[in-house]
Amino acid sequence: MPTVLTAADVQRIAALAHLELSDAEVALFTTQLTQILEYAERLKEVDTSAVSATWHPGAGAPDLRPDTERPSLPREAALAGAPERGPDGLFRVPKVID
């Protein structure tokens, strides 16, 4: 498990996260994320081979409500914050396929 990140690692992570970073941000995050991950190295001291993970602090499975039909957000309200709207009550995005 390498703890020293390279600029290429940072670029790869940024691409996974849908972020475009400037050269200055790449340099800064390479240093800062390395520092944070080096600090997190101390977790390796802990033997967890016999321990199960806690994904969630809730007690067991959530109580699910009955799956009954009920009114949802009106279409106009759901679209009201859209940066760009298409015709007929749709969200508009740049062309996906030619």
Partner: protein, 496 residues
């Protein structure tokens, strides 16, 4: 009203009894905000017209609504909580101008209780930070010392209550974001048990850690607001079906025979001497009132910060994927007609998110990425189990665990902004309550010689907020600092 009576319970009684109108109360707070908030910047939006109209509605319905628990009480709402038709930005450029089409469950409950929402409070962007310096709208200042941070991420919520700009705020706590600013601003801040309060309508940061709770001047007020917020919600499957107990029966707090554990070893290193001195003084007050103070061992507490800074960013990287410029918020203008959806996502997010949010998305994406998932994320979640079992063992012997809320008082604006790791290390006493889901409260615990507030924290058993409130009220009754108020804004606001 008499000085000191401008509390949640005091205002409610005065409005219900016809001694004050909700409109006059609301106007008083709006005037105080107008007089001071240019300097303090606790609010990201003041809802002046809406608040006055709402207060008039409360007055018009006073006879029918007389029993409502927050009748005419002004409340400030952290800007990560949805308010229908009103700005909700999470301190981020990516949500500049966003107005949600619905209210969060907690906001609906406040309104049902007769409260008046006076404004939205500033915070670190998406609640990621410990200083409120990471807001796209600029930092909030600490009312006790305007060159210092108010804490974070709910710095605006804490500063508003401390400066008397609202008798109560509601905010969120993912790693200390209610308790740490409450401590640094000298007010009460309660993080309820995970599941006690619905998260519906909260802009999610880390879904297994986030919890909504109140900030107030008094413990009785925290109990009164929690009573309104708590309870099951069919819109949040993680909201517990455990009914909320009647908290009004707890006070005044009696601590005779209550056992309070202190993790002495954890306090050995890196804690400011004045913070330790104040912590001992608060414990002495509780002992004097009949509490039994003893040592407890939390051997994995030293791992809470590194676990938190893997788990919380991992969850954040997933939750913040929704900010992509498609359905709401900012969308980047693309310079090429050939640019497609992936370019739009990346450009939008890069323009819209600030440095700390990018840093955490990157950290979380890395911890979840192929090849590192087991070594970082899964391993951290296993250590999280050990932290929880430390607390479970300790609670076999004690009713609550006490420690300082923060290792130091408020630092200066700008002091830690370029060193994220040093900022994270300040969360050492707060993150474990989120990792474990346990309830925790920060209480005013005295002042330093330079008159900066110090927080006294209690952590309780699951769903046992009642014990924390009872102990907190007992401390408040005898605390020599209980009537201390920040002086910095007093003259502008016309006294408390």
């Amino acid at each position: 009203m008499a000085p000191g009576a401008w509390t949640v319970t005091g205002i409610r009684a005065a409005v219900a009894g016809g001694d004050l109108s909700a409109r006059d109360v609301c106007a008083r707070y709006l005037d105080r905000i107008a007089a001071t908030d240019q300097r303090l910047r606790a609010f990201s939006a003041v809802l002046r017209d809406a608040a006055l109209a709402r207060a008039e509605e409360v007055d018009a319905r006073r006879d029918a609504w007389r029993d409502r628990p927050l009748l005419g009480v002004p409340v400030a709402v952290k800007d990560v909580i949805c308010t229908r038709g009103e700005p909700t930005t999470a301190g981020s450029r990516i949500l500049a101008g966003y107005r949600p089409p619905y209210d969060a469950t907690v906001v609906s409950r406040l309104l049902d209780a007769g409260a008046v929402v006076v404004g939205k409070t500033n915070c670190d962007e998406f609640a990621m930070g410990s200083s409120t310096e990471h807001s796209a709208y600029g930092p909030t200042r600490n009312p006790w010392a305007l060159d210092r941070i108010p804490g974070g991420s709910s710095g605006g919520a804490a500063a508003a209550v401390a400066a008397g700009l609202a008798p109560a705020s509601i905010a969120t706590d993912t790693g200390g974001s209610i308790r740490q600013p409450a401590a640094l601003c000298g007010v009460v801040g309660l993080k309820p048990t995970y599941g006690r309060v619905s998260r519906y309508g909260l802009l999610a940061f880390a879904s297994s850690l986030d919890q909504i709770g109140p900030l107030t001047w008094t413990v009785a007020d925290a109990a009164a607001v929690l009573q309104v917020l708590a309870g099951p919600d069919p819109r949040d499957a993680t909201a517990s079906t455990e009914p909320a107990p009647d908290l009004s029966q707890l006070l005044p707090g009696d601590v005779r025979g209550t056992r309070i554990g202190v993790p002495r070893v954890a306090l050995d290193d890196g804690v400011d001497p004045e913070v330790l001195e104040a912590f001992s003084a608060a414990l002495a007050i509780l002992s004097e009132r009949g509490a039994e103070v003893c040592d407890v061992d939390l051997p994995h507490m030293q791992y809470a910060v590194p676990v938190y800074y893997l788990v919380a960013p991992a969850e954040a990287s997933s939750n913040l994927a929704r900010y992509d410029g498609v359905r709401y918020g900012h969308r980047a203008t693309l310079d090429s007609a050939a640019a497609g959806v992936p370019e739009m996502y990346a450009r939008t997010r890069s323009e819209g998110f600030g440095a700390e949010v990018k840093r955490r998305i990157m950290l979380g994406t890395y911890a979840l990425s192929a090849g590192y998932y087991d070594a970082y994320y899964v391993h951290a979640q296993r250590v999280r189990s050990l932290i929880r079992s430390d607390y479970d063992h300790a609670f076999a012997a004690v009713d609550a665990i006490a420690m300082p809320t923060t290792p130091t008082p408020a630092f200066r604006i700008g002091e830690r902004i370029d060193d994220p790791l040093s900022m994270y290390l300040g969360d050492v006493f707060t993150v474990s309550a989120n990792l474990t889901g346990l309830p925790a409260i920060s209480l005013p615990g005295g002042l330093t010689r330079a008159r900066l507030p110090i927080g006294f924290q209690l952590i309780g058993r699951p769903f046992d907020e009642a014990t924390l409130l009872r102990i907190g009220d007992a401390l408040e009754q005898d605390a020599p600092w209980r009537d201390e108020r920040p002086a910095a804004l007093d003259s502008a606001a016309g006294g408390y």
